[in-house]
Amino acid sequence: MDQLLQHALNAMILGGTYALLGIGLTLIFGIMRVVNFTHGELYAFGAYMMYMWVMLIGANFVVSIALAVALGVLLGAGIEILLLRRLRGADIDTTMLVMIGAWIAMQNTEQLVWSGVAKSIDSPFPSAPLVMGGVSVSWTRLFVFAVAVMLIAGTWVLIQKTRLGKAMRATFQDREAAALMGVRIDRVHTATFAIGSGLAAAAGALLGPVFVVYPTIGDLASLKAFAIVILGGLGSIPGATIGGFILAFMEELGAGYVSSGYRDAMGFLLIIVILLVKPTGLFARKERIG
């Protein structure tokens, strides 16, 4: 029983960051129709920025997270303005190729700058875990979960309650109509990509201290984000949130009771099955494109 509870707790905590990753990707796809292959690199970027601020500069842990996210937002805005703005209206394959090119360039730049040796980031929290009966969880992970939940809630509020969010939703539903109504599509796109990138960087900055940071961490993050948004349906924020938790539970329970080797395979097997049965994902409202 303790084992099951422990697995469930682990999954819950992991699910928070997965949801963060998924929301960023699904937001960008839903509004911009861009399959963002650089998503994992922004995750890695967030983690490396965290390493830089905490370990090299010696900044405060929480401040470092904020800085890493802010830099992720800036980088995302830069990518959108530099690479994607001129591709608006191009077909999905063209933007995908550009994003793949950007992904390769970014990942290898990381390798050049930070070398291939894994870096670890110190956490200011006590290493003794919080123990509740037979289960335990580290303070670092609890903190990560709390911040992830706050960021998810924050994103939700931003989209539902602010002017920018309104413009984003309008663009999501009908780009031409929104443009006719005076929504500045360019700005919405830049903001969307920046926010999505910031969320990916946040996930990286949060998980960096839990695991280790190396140049190719983004690859698995990208693939998992893909799995999450497919589970939830491309473009659906609640879908991505729930998808993140589903994936975490599948992985953790699969690893605990089936085989730890197939941990990372669970999500992909699930999405292949889901796409065969219900191609639009579990929660998508919008019809599939193509």
Partner: protein, 355 residues
């Protein structure tokens, strides 16, 4: 004229090892050749049917693993019942690999009918990732990260020459060259057939193609099967040449390498993947001479890929061809349509209309 040059080129390639004693360069050419075969097979999907398949390396890896496992033999336990296979000759293993890869292609082709666009892309990526994870974790069958080692090389019998061990650089060079030529001929015949025209119609305008009675599924599946089988062939040749296969053969980066080759050379052209493959297969070795770190090389690849999508969206081969015609090609043919000025305009076939 054109035919003569093609012939001269083939003769040049066939005599190359006879006067070139740089074994390392032959090795580079062999690896480039294997990737060119894979890129040509990808081009069938990417270029001719317009399906952005980003899991292509799965077929390559499946070809490599299936052929290796057949030639090495294996024993696994299904619910404690041992299931085994005694080592088979390499030529037979390679055929099994091609057939098996083709079957996987059929499966993916069926899925591709259900989902398109971004969904298809992600399904294909996921498919490759699942194959990688299976290869990594099914230790009993694949040895996981320990890799399949000591894979037997191909033994052939040729009339007039007798038995040949395809071991070392020269025999492998010829093997790859023959496989590349055969692949080229197969793809050429296919795209010039009725099926090929149907595929192109599909790429240009799917609803229209359907409305004039083209069986979309059938041709998509056909293209995927042929493409997967050829990629499997490339994988099988690769395995018996390098004689070691590990799960990293399924890494996404190899799919990307193939995509870059096709897109750079020119998707939907027969020569495109060859030109792209030669550039990206040999360029790294040229860059080595300048002591360039591999990371810088990959950064250059990434940037190059972006630039090509922006400025040469059709790829090198069509650009060179059009450029030649414009400066007054011999034939005096009417000028081809002007090169598109914007990337958006470069994709007239896009279904999504832009304002």
């Amino acid at each position: 004229m054109s035919r003569a040059v093609t012939l001269a080129w083939v003769v040049f390639l066939f005599t190359l090892p006879l006067w070139m004693d740089n074994l390392y360069f032959l090795h580079v050419l062999i690896m480039a050749g294997i990737f060119i075969v894979a890129a040509m097979s990808l081009n069938l999907l990417l270029g001719y049917t317009g399906q952005l398949s980003l899991g292509h390396v799965a077929f390559f890896g499946i070809g490599a693993y299936v052929s290796s496992l057949c030639s090495l033999g294996f024993e696994i336990h299904v619910f404690d019942v041992p299931v085994g296979l005694a080592p088979k000759p390499v030529w037979l293993s390679m055929i099994v690999a091609v057939v098996f890869a083709g079957l996987c292609g059929w499966m993916i082709g069926k899925i591709s009918f259900k989902v398109r666009g971004a969904y298809f892309v992600i399904v294909s990526v996921s498919f490759a990732e699942v194959t990688r994870l299976v290869a990594l974790n099914w230790l009993e069958l694949t040895q996981g990260p320990m890799a399949l080692n000591n894979i037997p090389f191909l033994k052939l019998w040729l009339p007039g020459i007798g038995d040949i061990d395809v071991l070392g650089k020269m025999p492998n060079y010829y093997l790859v060259l023959v496989v590349a030529v055969v692949t080229y001929v197969i793809i050429r015949r296919l795209v010039h057939s009725r099926a090929g025209r149907a595929m192109i119609a599909l790429r240009e305008n799917e609803p229209l193609a359907t409305s004039v009675g083209i069986d979309v599924t059938r041709f998509l599946v056909l293209a995927t099967v042929v493409s997967a089988a050829l990629a499997g062939l490339a994988g099988a040749v690769y395995a018996q040449y390098v004689r070691i296969v590990d799960p990293d053969v399924f890494l996404f980066i190899y799919t990307v390498t193939m995509v870059i080759m096709v897109v750079t050379g020119g998707k939907g052209t027969l020569a495109g993947p060859i030109v792209g493959g030669l550039i990206f297969g040999i360029l790294p070795e040229l860059l080595r001479g300048f002591e360039v770190q591999p990371e810088i090389q990959w950064v250059v690849y990434g940037v190059l890929m972006i630039l090509i999508v922006y400025f040469l969206p059709e790829g090198i081969v069509p650009a060179v061809r059009d450029g030649w015609r414009r400066v007054g090609g011999r034939s005096g043919a009417p000028p081809a349509q002007p090169a598109p000025a914007t990337p958006a305009g470069a994709t007239p076939a896009t279904a999504e209309a832009s304002p």
